[in-house]
């Protein structure tokens, strides 16, 4: 039997999913090994082999493909433990990287600090060369001018070099010359240039992205070397693919060329999985949310495609490569409750983290966190947290809530916990609003998919605030990202800047840019990654705006439309898209339009795993009731005794009336008073408002169409 594996390495846990060619699914979570994550990677495979009751050697040899999401690059940016980088740029522009266009995010806070630049000023070198705004050479680069810089780079033991010259997006000749020369003179040093990373207009965006690439490059390379070596040592014969921030996968060699593509390698898998699940259930659009220990991620899937953005940043470091558009807010199980000077209760964004963690972990935490409130409100079982591996102390949680918050608010412990619950839910609802409403989408038209251990306790309240009628907790909710890795296609993004008004658009340049990008895509996918031609597809995107505007719209088009040069049709769709996003178009006014960038996304379709629907054996829901427990019912604003179902029992097809709780080893689902829950044939939970579906689940399949779009 052959397997496909998805392996997602996070800060605390390494999540694994293996799907056999028959559709059998194995799921496992093991501890991460942050000093060398490849150890946890191999441990995980070893342990999952044991679950499959197979010898490790046989099992690993039977894996065809491993898709891997890594936080190596993300952590390097978050903890500032990347390479020692030097930057070489055009004379006169030494400080663009650090200036960040002169922004201070907190305007009233004089203690607010600028980011620590990824390259300190003494390692930012400038050189005499200049390309003009039309790509003309104004001042020629003399490579021998680089020699004194090379000397300093060697003296300073620099590990990585980034090159970014003015207007190189128009003409990269100087960057190419410098790159070749430096690579020759600096063996063993990672050298990259902006034309390789992001050949598009906007100097700050390009220099920042290139610096990120150079900063994470060496450690990512080392990690990939380690990993491929370990896999080879253990006789893995399949192929290894790496998840990128854009939700697609690539071979490790591609990642080495442009390491910045992996900064969202982990979280990007959630919307990718969301796209797959919603399609499987017959929906086009979904919102995926993932509530972890410290943060809450939300992303959109539209027309079965994950939404991408080039506006991203991590830890305030700007990365302008196409990445899945994921909003992250500081709301998680560890988010702490506190009172501001006016005595108003606040939740987060500060987090108790994993250590000491919430008070109920009993590891020395003193400040009550969201998990403490969830415990007091009965949503968590103190003896069954992580399947009973971690005992939770209700007494300690109650005491902390009382001392730190309740006594000052003049409320009871339960009232305070309920307040914490409501406030964090309203924070998360705001995150969902940001990703949907503020981008011009109505969240009520989306299937709401909840991943992560704690999210499914809070989901019904988030949905209520946004009037979303139902949500889905997938059977693999707790390892949702690992599952998403198996659903990504091979994906390469290319860009050419071509700044012109449409009136002056030169058809020859326009088409040759696209054909060039197409050839690069075919080379990468077919020649390097071995994808058959009939599985390769091309998706052009035009960055456009009305003349005089500063913010552009990324308009998706089709290869046929581009090749047939059907510009009128493109205009029509641009007016429409502008109207959808911003509430108006300037079609009537006849305003001119401008082109900024041409983009091409090249996809190589991968074989997706088939999941078995496990409806062969099932038991009636009543027999899965573990106990009755008092939980907080927000609609009634009081505690009430409800049945607790064992969600790991095969209760497929069951209809569970709210209010109730469903407990799995890794997830708890809270079905509130106004909700019912249907368990589908895959063991996923569909929770919906009773009023919207008065006759129970028999109506869902009919009604979902109405809500699907």
């Amino acid at each position: 039997m052959k397997y496909n594996a998805g392996i997602d390495i996070g800060g605390t846990f390494t999540d694994l999913i293996c799907v056999s060619s028959k559709g059998d699914t194995l799921i496992h979570k093991t501890l991460s090994t942050p000093e060398d994550p490849s150890i946890g990677f191999i441990n995980g495979i070893r342990e999952i082999a044991a679950i499959a009751k197979q010898p490790f050697e046989t099992f690993i040899a039977s894996i065809d493909t491993i898709v891997h999401g890594t936080t190596v690059a993300t952590n390097a940016l978050l903890t500032l433990k990347g390479a020692k980088v030097a930057l070489i740029t055009t004379k006169g522009f030494r400080d663009a990287l650090e200036m960040r266009r002169g922004i201070r995010e907190e305007q009233y806070n004089n203690h607010y600090k600028n980011v620590v630049p990824l390259v300190p000023r003494y390692l930012r070198f400038t050189i005499n060369e200049r390309i003009g705004s039309e790509g003309n050479i104004i001042s020629k680069l003399k490579v021998k001018d680089l020699l004194p810089l090379i000397q300093k780079i060697i003296e300073e033991k620099v590990e990585s070099v980034a090159i970014c010259f003015m207007n190189s997006y128009k003409n990269p000749i100087h960057e190419k010359q410098a790159l070749t020369f430096l690579r020759k003179k600096l063996p063993g040093v990672f050298v990259t240039a902006s034309f390789e990373v992001l050949p598009s207009i906007r100097f700050y965006e390009r220099i920042s992205t290139t610096a990120v690439s150079a900063f994470v490059g060496p450690i990512l390379s080392t990690y990939l070397d380690n990993l491929t070596q370990k896999l080879a040592d253990n006789h893995f014969k399949g192929s290894l693919l790496i998840m990128q921030s854009n939700g697609g996968v690539v071979v490790p060699e591609q990642v080495r060329k442009n390491p910045a593509v992996t900064v969202l390698s982990g979280p990007a898998a959630a919307p990718t999985a969301g796209a797959f699940y919603s399609k499987m259930l017959g929906y086009k659009n979904c919102i995926t949310v993932d509530m972890g220990g410290t943060s809450f991620d939300a992303a959109l899937v539209i027309e079965n495609q994950c939404v991408t953005s080039t506006e991203g940043a991590i830890n305030r470091y700007r990365i302008a490569l196409p990445s899945l558009d994921i909003i992250t807010i500081g709301a998680g199980g560890g988010s702490i409750g506190w009172l501001n000077n006016g005595g108003l209760l606040q939740m987060g964004p500060q987090s108790a983290g994993a250590i000491p963690g919430p008070v109920c972990y009993d590891k020395g935490g003193k400040i009550p966190a969201c998990t403490d409130a969830d415990l007091i409100l009965g949503y968590l079982n103190p003896d069954f947290f992580a399947g009973g591996k971690l005992k939770l102390s209700k007494t300690k949680a109650a005491q902390a809530i009382k001392e730190v918050l309740a006594s000052k608010l003049g409320l009871s412990v339960h009232e305070t916990a309920a307040g914490m619950f409501r406030i964090i839910n309203s924070n998360m609802a705001q995150g969902v609003r940001e990703i949907s409403v503020e981008r011009g989408y109505d969240p009520r038209e989306f299937l709401f998919i909840v991943a992560g251990g704690a999210g499914s306790i809070h989901a019904s309240e988030i949905c209520k605030e946004l009037e979303i009628p139902m949500f889905l907790v997938p059977n693999v909710s707790s390892i949702f990202c690992a599952a998403g890795m198996l659903m990504g296609d091979l994906k390469h993004d290319y860009i050419r800047s071509y700044f012109t008004s449409f009136k002056q658009l030169d058809k020859k340049i326009f088409l040759s840019c696209f054909n060039e990008m197409k050839a690069e895509g075919i080379h990468a996918l077919h020649d390097e990654e071995g994808v058959k031609h009939n599985r390769i597809s091309f998706h052009p995107i035009l960055d456009m705006r009305y003349a005089g505007q500063y913010h552009e719209v990324q308009l998706e088009t089709s290869w046929e439309e581009i090749m047939s040069f059907n510009i009128e049709q493109v205009f029509e769709r641009f007016h429409k898209e502008h109207n959808r996003q911003f509430g108006y178009s300037l079609k009537e006014e006849g305003t001119e339009m401008e082109l900024i960038n041409l983009r091409l996304r090249v996809l190589g379709k991968t074989e997706k795993p088939k999941f078995l629907s496990v409806n062969t054996e099932f038991i009636p829901a009543e027999s899965a009731i573990k106990e009755f427990r008092k939980v907080y019912i927000p609609e009634l604003n009081r505690m009430k005794e409800v049945p607790v179902y064992d969600g790991d029992k095969p209760i497929f097809g069951a209809l569970l009336n709210g209010p109730c709780m469903i407990e799995k080893i890794t997830t708890s689902v809270f079905v509130s008073e106004n909700y019912d829950c249907m368990v589908d044939d895959y063991g996923s939970f569909i929770v919906y408002e009773k009023e919207k579906f008065p006759q129970g689940f028999s109506l869902i399949h009919k009604t979902t169409e109405a809500y699907a779009y």
Binding site: G92, F93, R94, D95, E98, M99, R101, G102, I103, R104, E105, E106, Q107, Y108, N109, N110, H111, Y112, K113, N114, P120, R121, Y122, S133, M166, N167, Y169, I201, R202, F203, Y204, E205, N341, G342, G343, L344, L345, Q346, G410, L411, A418, G419, R422, I423, S426, N427, Q430, R433, E438, F499, S501, Y546, G548, Q549, Y550, H551, Q581, F582, Y584, L586
Partner: protein, 557 residues
Amino acid sequence: MHIDKILVSIFQRAFKSITDEMSISLTKTTRSPILCEAKDFVTGLYDATGQMLEQTENLPILSFSLGPVCRVILEQYGNDISEGDVIIHNDVFSMGNQNNDVAIFKPIFYNKELVGWSAAKGHQADIGGAVQGGYNPNATEVWQEAIRIPAVKIVEKGKLRKDVWNLIFANIRLQMVQEDIKAQIGACTLGERRLQAFVTKYGLEVFDAHKQALFDATEKMMRAEIKAIPDGVYKGSSMVYYDGKHVGSKFPIRTEITVKNEEIIFDFSKSSTQTKGFVNGTYTSTCSAITLTFLQIVNPNIPHNEGMIKPLKYIVPEGTILNASYPAATTFGNHLCPQVADAIFKALGPAVPEKVTGGWNHLLCSLFTGNHPKTGKKYVDICFLGMKGGSGALKGDDGYDHIGMIDASGGVLDQDYEMYEQQTPHMVLQHEYLCDSGGAGQWRGGLGTVTQIMLKGNDTTMVVFGDGDVETNYGLFGGKGSLLNKIELKYADGKKRIPMSKDMIHGIPDNTLYKQIAGGGGGYGNPKKRNKEKVLQDVKNEVVSKKAAINLYGLKK
């Protein structure tokens, strides 16, 4: 009525999310770069009596600019306010802050009862008057600067008053302004819908009681902050140079701040009388300047609602340079903010030495217009990237580098160099930190910048407005001031010209080199006490010269 304390927290978040959403909508839909790039606009929600529920001011200088107008509208219209009305206003003699800042107000109704207002105010690319863009250094009366719009309905009960609309826009140069005003109305409609849904959800009684509780809690926060300042009367002053009319003229700004228990009074009565030029403030712009400076002294997380401003008292008599009488020219008024801030920081320095900063770099700014040879089209460009110097240092932290004037406090983005070279004919040659520009101190002032741009095209016009080229800004407690601002034109034939701080130069020829220095911020504390590691780091990074390290910071050779 019972107050649900948790609900009060939720109200605060909900109001904030509404004004934020209005703000994002405006960023994305407006066309003038002053709005969508520099974000010179504010969005707000008010209750039925004009009390601020929340606001998102993208630039701090707008922190006080909507509330007074809301009250003017309420007074003017009384009961004559209906659902679907839209009111427009810019008049600086009825509580407007600057002629170019045009406000849109939309009343919000619930069950036929007025429950609140949504509002948006933005700096328009043109507002009529003698000079495009509104900055007319020669103006002596308001009509030479702008069309006056006292509160007037442009939409009545949902129906556009085309006649009024046409009257206003017949007096404004750019079509773009109409589009941007439509975008402001759109943002207000967004706010209206969401506040309406909110009141519907909770009912009017709960809404009223909890919003009041929110004001009370916020006021309590502000009063606690004021109480932490020792009681006393504190005096500070600063100087405004050159009114655009009389070379060598100068005008003192004087403040007397009285702190008494939980109240604070800012009295600017002893400031200079108004000028004959356009270097004059309005009541509202001055109160904004006071508010934003004080907010930098207190906990930055206080919610921005009526409770925040309630304990603050402003005395700014009419006829002074900070509140000019009708019909004075006032367009420069917002840029008196740096001097107002200086006076307040200097006054409160002895009382709260750990909260105040050294002097911030004052604004000196250029605006270029001309025809782009490539497209043949007119362009307007405010040279944001050249004008931003450093902020003053404060106890425990160096100043912020290249942040720009305190009125914006880092809210205005530089243009991207490559985009700049596409949208104007000019070529950027240098934009870097300037060595030794941060005022020396135990904590160093933020760095200023040096900018060089080759001006292309044969007929460039440059308008200059600002200050900071006469007197260096101040350091505190032994800290030093920084460099002066400077703009210089070097023509192709080698001749040089240094413009006045309020000036207009026509017909600048091709290949003229524009050079600008934006000074840094003032230092804090004796530079000899600066951590030696930091001094060495600054020297290594070439932001402090070896010479300065030895002479000012006492580093051994």
